[in-house]
Amino acid sequence: MNTSAEQATEVELIDEVAGVETPFQRFVSDYCDNKIAVGAIVVLGIIVFIAIFAPLISPTDPFDLAVVSVLDSKLPPGSESMDGVMFWLGTDGAGRDLLSAMFYGLRISLGVGVVSGIIAMCIGATIGLAAAYFGGRTDTLIMRLVDIQLSFPAILVALIFLAVLGKGVDKIIVALVVVQWAYYARTVRGSALIERNKEYIEAATCLALSHKRIVFRHLLPNCLPSLIVVGTIQTAHAISLEATLSFLGVGLPVSEPSLGLLISNGFDYMLSGKYWISFYPGVALLITIVTINLVGDQLRDVLNPRLQK
């Protein structure tokens, strides 16, 4: 154990002397140590690409009523339409090409997950930083609120909000933000508490910088590593939760068919053996969630200061 630590220090010294590696390069090379994680980020890249460019790469437009024909409904994977278009993954109950519908669904699922994640991160990080920076009563009050909220399962909190608010893209984003902010607040507070007592914050305070400047320009950048890790994993949670809520019929409206809604539509045909309508969107959802989680796990290992070489 000791010797390996010494070796690590030696390696670090050599690196510093040679000056070959910037922190970012080190981060990239550390990340690439794990082959599975590299594969995951490649797959995730493809998924994001599909989500962004769905309208351009989809074989057909699933919302174009001129193209979609009910005569083509519920065709098994690999069959051809009346006009000779190939349906690689079959068609759904309305005769839409499942592959195209999945591309568009991925766009909606990822969009909702990422947008809600970013909003929750901004709100949660600000609140968490405030708690850590001001301490005392502010801290106690905020953390008590966080504890109470985290004692309720996420799906329950989301369900309560959606039962009151109703369906809609904006409403599910509100519900997901309400569910997630507490995780960000707790994480940021944890790392900010450690950073707050370091000398650079003291130095900044001595320079009589404003609270706002110290918190956002000095404290926040040093809390970013843990925030990025939580952000990745929470986004996967958000996507899974949105799919679940949409499946339950309390999430997105029918006009915004996310992956969860596609699966829900296929549920009706499952008992007659038409498995593919639910199966393939589920596989897409699963791959998305697993790859995000794998990337998040590797980021956690790489960004964790305790494990850093």
């Binding site: 399962p153 799906i155 369900l159 009151v164 679940t244 053996g273 959802l285």
Partner: protein
Amino acid sequence: MTVFIIRRLMQSAVVVLLMSFLVFVGVNLVGDPVEMLINPESDQAEIDRVMKSMGLDKPWYVQYGLFLVNAFKGDLGNSFIYGEPALQIIVQRIPATFELALVALLMAIIIGIPFGVYAGLKPKTTLSKTIMAGSILGFSLPTFWVGLMFIMVFAVMLGWLPSTGRGDTVPFMGLDVSFLTMDGLTHLLLPALNLALFKISLVTRLARAGTREVVHQDYIKFARAKGLSQNRVIFVHLMKNILIPVVTVLGLEFGGLIAFSVVTETVFAWPGMGKLIIDSIQNLDRPVVVAYLMIIVVIFVIINLVVDVLYSILDPRVRLQDVKG
């Protein structure tokens, strides 16, 4: 200790009040309470009568007070669909949900602990690696989709197990239960496994981590040195010590099982509270929705309170910290 419990009781009361306020605001101020709480099929005289009895003509703080007073009396309005008191309908569904959650909890223990102990004792074998990879999958798989796949494989393709409903029930200690009849058991198997999947992964990981830690302790070496059989070492010495964290976490997770039963019940058409709330949201049966939200919050507040108190008994530091804070 008393101070701690009193503080926690007060906190619980505040949470319930906050929730009731949120639900009240959501139903009465964001939406139109007349449309939400009064059966759309009733005539003008009926609407006037209900509005008067619910005090909808009064200012909002009086209305909120009335809502609270009525809630305390157990009157949360009548269901539009069933025409019975909303509270009563939900209470009738509670046993089904609890049965499902308890069986899922049991499955998590019966399946998770042997897997975890094996993976902890022999971490290098292929089976162990498969188990651990499977547990990652168990965390990532969306519950509802796994449920659908269960139905597809076991009910549609193989035709082994039924996919919907609760099957035959028999009365047991005053409640109707499924697990005592053969038909009920076959109906219970798939939904309970579906609900348990996440917890099985959790227990497996906990048991593995515990085993790997405990197996190197001196008392295990000593037990081996005494010449005890491998079975006795594992099932008595090792098991006793890994069970503590497993039981604690499972206690904490029981609430999660009840919350997630919403998903499983919807997939398998299990007639519990969770299916009722989803049906009620879709049928716009507002009184049932309001009553469900209030009941589920009270259930969770009670679970959290019990866990907090148990924790403070097990670990005095928790309670001291709280009193100081």
